[in-house]
Amino acid sequence: MFWFYAERILGYWPVLLKGLGMTLGLSLLSLLIGAAIGFAFGIIRAGGNRWLSRALGLYIDLFRGTPFLVQVFIVFFILPAAGIELSAFAAGVVALSNLAACFIGEIVAAGLKAVPQGQREAALASGMTPAQQMRLVLMPQAVRIVTPSLVGQFVLLIKDSSVVSAIGLLDLTRSGWMIVQSVPQGLMVFGTVGLGYFIICYPLILLSRRLERRGQDALL
């Protein structure tokens, strides 16, 4: 019985593989876009302009305070009303990179604030412009501080990307959902799907832990 169904599920390997590829592509692309915007967000949030920082904080709160599923629906159903038609994949990339930018922005801001004040003063005293201070002194140190959190954030992104299956994008979760319609073995089908996520995410979790430990050693 077990082997009968196992064989049938494995017969769907092209679908599963395609889903896995979609999950990876969606999360990687969103990570890249989200990190680029997120670093800019972080610099603004940690920067001197209080009103700009507050306005951005409010924007970030809007997305940290609502479920990602609702955000996906908003991008997929509301943007068309404003005249912007998006495919499920494009909607997924927009929603996921925006979420990534919000979380990475807060991480980067915390990292920048964690760099000791003396570093900035020293950079200022050596006659660096604000841009030079950021590029040569503050950011390199902040990046080292936030790297473990960024890896952890990537794991969250990969997992959150499963929610985009709700608007029909054929990712790993959706491929499981399709297979379970014809092979009614939920435990085996979603066990396989879960294994796919585990293979990607678990090494990243271990990496994040290791980086964190190394960071703590470096501080001692």
Partner: protein, 222 residues
């Protein structure tokens, strides 16, 4: 875009939205209780010395953390009936939420306990306190205090995650908002109402965490 928001329809559906809001509230509360129970249990198993008891707890936490909640939810939703276990969707949802958040709670409590300096435990030993006494009098009072803020943080995640239950047709806030979208063909109104409901819960929990840590922060620790 939001200028054309049909507030009349939103008001008309206010009772449904309110019902959905209450459902989200109590689904989250049930999930929270389950998650805390599982979290304490998994953490207790993970920090005690017996290896064969530690392994399953560690495996539970790692497997949950490396897979998405939606896949876990479908695993139970499509899987349990085949085992002859037929449960209402709502209960499956609560179980999935508890299992998922429980793993994160376990990690939070564990790092709270591990954050207690070793010297304090040794000081307890040298004053002749037993294991349970050390836990009760020295470790836990401090560890739990350090745990409150991250636990509230995870509760925020739990509340938002409960929206996924709408995908297995549990009627809660997200699903209630979809009613406006489907009945009246007005997705914007439904989604805005839904988002507002979650934001209320988010700000309530966020300010609770802020107020708590402002009053109870341990000197020198976050």
């Amino acid at each position: 875009m939001l200028g054309g928001l049909n507030t009349r329809v939103m008001l008309e559906y206010l009772p449904e939205i309110w019902q959905g809001f209450l459902s989200t509230l109590w689904l989250s509360a049930a999930g929270f209780l389950g998650a805390m129970a599982l979290g304490v249990l998994a953490c207790a198993l993970a920090i005690q010395p017996l290896r064969w008891l530690r392994a399953p707890a560690v495996a539970y936490v790692d497997v949950i953390r490396a897979t998405p909640l939606l896949a876990q939810l479908y695993f139970l939703y499509f899987g349990l009936p085949r085992l002859g276990i037929v449960l209402p969707e709502m209960l499956i949802g609560i179980i999935a939420l508890s299992l998922n958040s429980g793993a994160y709670m376990a990690e939070i409590i564990r790092s709270g306990i591990l954050s207690i300096p070793r010297g304090q435990v040794e000081a307890g030993m040298s004053t002749g306190l037993g294991y349970m006494q050390r836990m009760r009098l020295i470790v836990l009072p401090q560890a739990l205090r350090a745990t409150v803020s991250p636990v509230i943080g995870q509760t925020i995640v739990l509340v938002k995650d409960s929206s996924l239950l709408s995908l297995i047709s549990v009627v809660e806030l997200t699903r209630a908002g979809q009613r406006i979208a489907i009945d009246r063909f007005m997705p914007v109104e439904g989604l805005v109402a839904t988002a507002l409901g979650y934001l209320v819960l988010y700000y309530a929990l966020k300010s609770a965490a802020g107020a708590w840590s402002a009053r109870n922060a341990l000197p020198g620790r976050g």
